[in-house]
Symmetry: C2
């Protein structure tokens, strides 16, 4: 966001419009298949305008797109992502993730598509992606920690490991939506992840299953 | 394997040696960073030899590498992958997968690395990868089906969905080993996948947890 701090509200809106249009073009054609001329044509922007908003050219623009896509993905998981302190919130989160990726024009992860093309060659994009992944995983881990603090998960559950397994399931499911051209793998992956979380449910709610409670006796 | 059927045993061994060396080079440098000259130099092979074994040039060679890496990955999961009809077999499989990917020179999936670079442009590689993914997932699904037939999993478990969730967890964990440069996400992902499988355990073994058994009553 640092490069937008000096823009007027109108300038920021124009910049955002360019980023959004460029993001869609890159999703459809890849980074290699997208030139600055394509983006100028698609957004009715002049060359000088483009360099005003993205002084570093394509590199700057792609980093801005990574940031934009990250916000869009995280935004689609709100308000659930900020709390995740009840089973209902996790269920809401799961549905929001499936709905978001199911409604996209392309299967798979829009950040992953950028990342796999550029992560080796472009440190700015690579850093942006790593920070975003850490942030996302951090939300899940905070949620698992809150569940444990609220007594909903067993005291011997390890929030870091559980969050990592949920995060991995999500990304594997997302990867397979691309291979299989279907939402099913993401649905199955997140159902599995939720079952794995429930396996650590604290034995204080007799109406639900008491997984492994005997090992605490 | 069809293109090797006319080779002598010695010829097949030479071809295999070229594929293995080329696979390692491509893992380290990417498809784009690997020329046929690199492979000739690395394997002490003449140009005519290379075209004898791979008439289609680099495209043929890369498809052969995808096939070779696929066999290597599946081989590392044997003998577990062929049966998976007990909890012990699944546990053995889980450990074999972690050990295999933990011992590789590069984090992440060697097929995925090829696939993400070539899947759009090279139908031969794309078909090879899709067939391999289906085969691998098929082994897991056959295992879950056997567990159910043996009465180890509940009758209302859906083998296709369970296998898909385990497969997704594995690939997500593998993807994150690359982002995080650690085996931890794969370990966490497979622990989660096994917990999700155990959630469907049939209530016939009182010494283990009886997940959701009340819903059968």
């Amino acid at each position: 966001m640092s490069s937008t701090t000096k823009l007027t509200p109108k300038g920021a809106a124009t910049r955002a419009r360019i980023v959004e249009a460029a993001a869609d073009h890159i999703l459809a054609h890849g980074v290699g298949g997208t030139s600055l001329d394509d983006i100028r044509a698609g957004t009715a922007t002049s060359k000088s305008q483009l360099f005003h908003y993205f002084p570093g050219g394509k590199t700057d623009l792609v980093a801005a797109i990574a940031s934009f896509q990250s916000e869009r993905v995280l935004e689609a998981q709100r308000p659930f992502l900020d709390t995740l302190d009840t089973w209902e919130a996790w269920e809401g989160w799961r549905k929001a993730v499936v709905a978001h990726y199911g409604s996209q024009a392309h299967w798979g992860c829009p950040i992953g598509a950028l990342a796999s093309e550029l992560i080796a060659s472009d440190p700015a994009v690579s850093d942006e992606v790593a920070a975003y992944m850490d942030r996302w995983r951090g939300y899940l881990q905070a949620g698992v920690t809150r569940m444990q603090a609220a007594g909903l998960l067993r005291a011997d559950a390890v929030p870091e490991t559980l969050a990592l397994s949920i995060f991995a399931a999500l990304h594997g499911g997302l990867l397979l939506t691309q291979t299989m051209q279907s939402i099913e793998p993401l649905e199955a992956a997140l159902e599995g992840a939720m079952a794995a979380l429930h396996a650590w449910q604290a034995p204080t709610r007799p109406s639900l299953s008491e997984v492994g409670s005997e090992s605490l006796a």
